[in-house]
Symmetry: D2
Subunit: 337 residues, 4 copies
């Protein structure tokens, strides 16, 4: 039985605790949080778990092999670094750290200690994204032209970081996973309406070269709840609508083909293909369970996690570029005032 310590039991931590508790291979032995009330709540649900306001008690417990970190972003790095130093395998909620530099240090540390480091890009473990990945890999969509994603809703403001740090890790991690490459350039655009230094609505434009692009939009201020991603390929197109309870993926047998040959006198001709739409059945299952189970597999069988430190670093690199864009913009606006 692998003993797990969980640091942070606010919004997401309890889900990690529940899943590690339900797995036959793991047990949660300690939980730490600064908030005594949250700890009391956990003790009521899991009477055998030891709780503390000191994360140090988890890090120094020699029986704990795995540490899961679900704390505010700015503490990820320090906690993960210490846990790796103590020889623990470490699972960190997304994003992996506050900067790509921090991510690089964690990767090195994990390598040095020969421990697993994994980041919670949970969407990559959903049935829907796995199905989409499978469809793209099969070549069914043809060459990918672009990806367009929206993640909009009203609410869930954060006070320490903007809507990009809150929502973009999801779509960036999905896009990088599906395209299997990193963007050559990233642009970002946004505005701060509620808090003067925190963007509450933003877009990201990712350029992968060769006319392959991705456009991401996120908002804390939209009246509709939207979580939609469109993948346009040369052969077929796919829409992933995560709000739909059952029909999350639609595959459109549509496409446009350019003219077969060029002729200076000829008219331009494109052929449009309108065809069937398929809504494939998607198996349910909690993605967090799949994710944490994969993490334990990686530890037991010495595999590389799908969302390892490198993956966390790639996502952070994109976010840093976006963030820097927004900061330049804010600086210019200040000057203009």
């Amino acid at each position: 039985m692998i003993k797990v310590g969980v640091i942070g039991c606010g919004y997401w931590g309890p889900n990690i605790i529940r899943n590690f508790s339900q797995m036959s291979r793991t047990e949660v032995s300690r939980v730490a949080d600064l908030d005594q009330e949250r700890l009391a709540h956990i003790r009521k649900l899991y009477p055998f778990v030891q709780t503390s306001t000191m994360s140090q008690e988890i890090l120094s417990d020699p029986y704990i092999q795995v540490v899961a970190i679900a704390t505010p972003i700015n503490t990820h790095f320090e906690l993960a670094r210490q846990a790796l130093e103590q020889g623990k395998h470490v699972f960190v909620e997304k994003p992996l750290a506050s900067s790509s530099q921090q991510a690089r240090e964690l990767i090195q540390q994990a390598r040095k200690q020969e421990r697993k480091l994994m980041v919670g890009h949970t969407f990559l473990y959903t049935s829907a994204v796995r199905k989409i990945k499978e469809i793209i890999k099969s070549g069914e969509l043809g060459d990918i032209y672009y990806i367009n994603a929206q993640r909009l809703n009203l609410g869930l403001f954060q006070k320490d970081y903007n809507v990009i740090w809150d929502l973009a890790p999801h779509d960036i991690s999905i896009v990088l996973h599906l395209l299997e490459q990193n963007p050559v350039s990233v642009q970002s655009f946004g505005a701060c309406h509620i808090n003067p230094a925190i963007e509450d609505v933003a877009t990201l434009s990712l350029d992968f070269g060769n006319n392959l692009i991705a456009f991401l939009q996120m908002s804390w201020l939209d009246p509709d709840k939207v979580r939609k991603m469109t993948v346009v390929g040369s052969e077929k197109m796919l829409v992933y609508d995560d709000i739909q309870p059952a029909e999350k993926i639609r595959i459109y047998d549509k496409g446009v083909q350019g003219p077969k040959y060029y002729d200076s006198f000829a008219e331009f001709h494109y052929s449009y293909k309108y065809g069937d739409i398929l809504i494939p059945k998607i198996d349910g299952g909690e993605p967090l369970q799949t994710e944490l189970s994969h993490f334990i597999d990686c530890i037991e069988q010495d595999l590389t996690p799908l969302t390892d430190g490198e993956n966390g670093l790639q996502v952070l690199t994109v976010m840093e570029q976006a963030q820097s864009c927004l900061q330049n913009r804010r600086a210019q606006n200040k000057e203009a005032e």
Copy 2:
């Protein structure tokens, strides 16, 4: 009875002919087009209309007071210029011309000749946009935070200009109309998948200063047909879905308010307001009829058209900035290869 000449009877021209024919104050006396087949079709529908492949016959007909131009974009300027020179009132399909410089010349010409110049930003004459304008003016939405617009579909490729020149005039004209100001900066992003020099998918980021922004997205390659605009205000939010046959506008009584005061020790608090949704009844009516009727009113009563040359110039200015962004991007990509 005001005599009208129509140049161009391809895709949109026949609608102009039909509307001018049905109005009691106007009659279509001449139609010109390069395509004999299209002219034959028009003669069958309107036996009394004189047709010609020479637009000159319209321009030089002294009985014609009004010329409507529905030809390819790159001919707009020259035809409009000549028609104004001949003392005609001129209606030009959107966009007004191929450049802001051309637009400025047409405006001057119209002023000199004391003739009306109007551009076919038809959406401003729809019941939906008029209702939205009225709602915003009433202050019901509070301060506008941002506008987010998507105009996506599969098809209707153009061979001479990109998706921005095809689709963006609609949303740019709506956004400028609703916000009653011009952007201080415009960025654009896009890619060419079918034809190497023509963007088939693109986004525009409009910055109006003071954190008021607008995002526009357009695509010729999307499997879904989407024509949606979200207007987020400090008090309420509005979604305009032009695909809906009846329920085009939804007003959400939702909003977010920032913290009332700042206190270094206090937690951040936002209050969310979730309320009713109202779908106001919108009267039907063909917007082109409203538009052309307004044009004749302006001629008869010497009024300034809502979508006059200045308005056409403003839209073109935004498009030029976007176009220049895309061209820089294409140039950089070429270098990178």
Copy 3:
């Protein structure tokens, strides 16, 4: 060129005139209607058509081979009877007549005169219904369990007949066509809210024996416009939503299988099958054109129309049974007062 006379050019007649005018094999030579204004309108659109308020002029014109009848229901029989008597081929808008007795007389007359008699059950000529028919015939749905249909909207009240006579012929004709059998019993239920003797909302329950049933619902008083039909089979299920502009048919790879064997001690077990959903591409095309073209084919090649007199009789038989149910109910209610 087959000469056609059209009697009635109110709501539906003009569509018949337009389609016969556009077909290369037919021309509309005469149109009759009691309303002079409607006739003037037709003359403007079709200058070569002769118009009259006397249907007799059509019936006695020896050059006219085909008569199309689009008049109020209570005149169908008399006009069709006379036209057949004069040796015309006759197309009658749905329903064929006001009673099954009348329908039988028309069938006999047509047989005696060796002329074609066809009723305008237009939905059978839509691409959607033809696709559904093809799917059912292929056995893809397995055994049909039941059909459930709704045709609801606000408006289009008739003053002379109830909602069943107005809307049910559509769904009855589709159901009989799909199932290829006639019900052994028909029940109906409804109520009169606006006009005391005219049901404005009603249901029909059709029993085909062997547990095969169909429910139809229709209303003139529903806030939503609904035109939906669900066909449940033992293997798959199909939903036909006629309001959808493009995605009219969905095939669900779902089903329920009963227990394989009975065992007094065993628990009951059903296996549910949840699978993919397919939205097949459906070709467009105006169904009335397909319908009238089929009628001319039947005349030229001496074929039996898909919606011949017998088919019209079957639909009327179901409607009469439903009507009789409703009348009994009204009578009982009167007594109760």
Copy 4:
């Protein structure tokens, strides 16, 4: 602290246990079920609850004041009767009993023992139905013309009773609650496709006199999950779509008015009113909590439950009439074979 005993912890029982556990005024002291595994599950979740396979232990426990029954329908009567006899207040899952005769006996028993008897028509405690009730009571819809309800899905077959006993209590209880009257006649129609003696699809036609009707449809065999109710009034119309996560109620400002006066020469004229649509905000909250809290209020303050025995009897009376219709139909079909 009121002590509660719960009999039955299969599908719905655990929800009752959870709610009584979370209320500050009640505690669950005993749970009974025939299945040892279910009891073990309950002990794990609620270590202080005593469990038994003998419901007698609950009934004879003098400290238990309230008994909640969530067992198969055919056991409701006997368990409720005994519990009342032992002086307990009794909450029974819907339907109250297997027949109206049983319901009458329970009502009498409760009266004799001066104990509260309540049936779990949970939908009457949802925010949506309470809002609809409030809207109808306010007169906003005008006179109610009809109610049309559908409750369709694939699955959840029962082996002992048909789809009416499973699904209709919900809609019957809502309809009787909204209309505040009982039908003067009930008809039913259905068919058995999976199990030869159990209807898996059925309709109910309720006639309340004066042209007020309700039509209910239910199915275990529909590919779509539908839970929709339309209430048509003379002034406005309302659609309640329980599948919608947030927008459950829509109020349509539509209506039809009959002719103002009759005149033998006059044409029939109806005025249609098309207006705004309002989607009122509905508060969340678990209806079962509201329901059980209301039950405890009734006990503590000696009030009559909204869904008391009489209410349970009224629903059962409708169901019995429907059931008898279906049985006659089945008998006739057998004869016909």
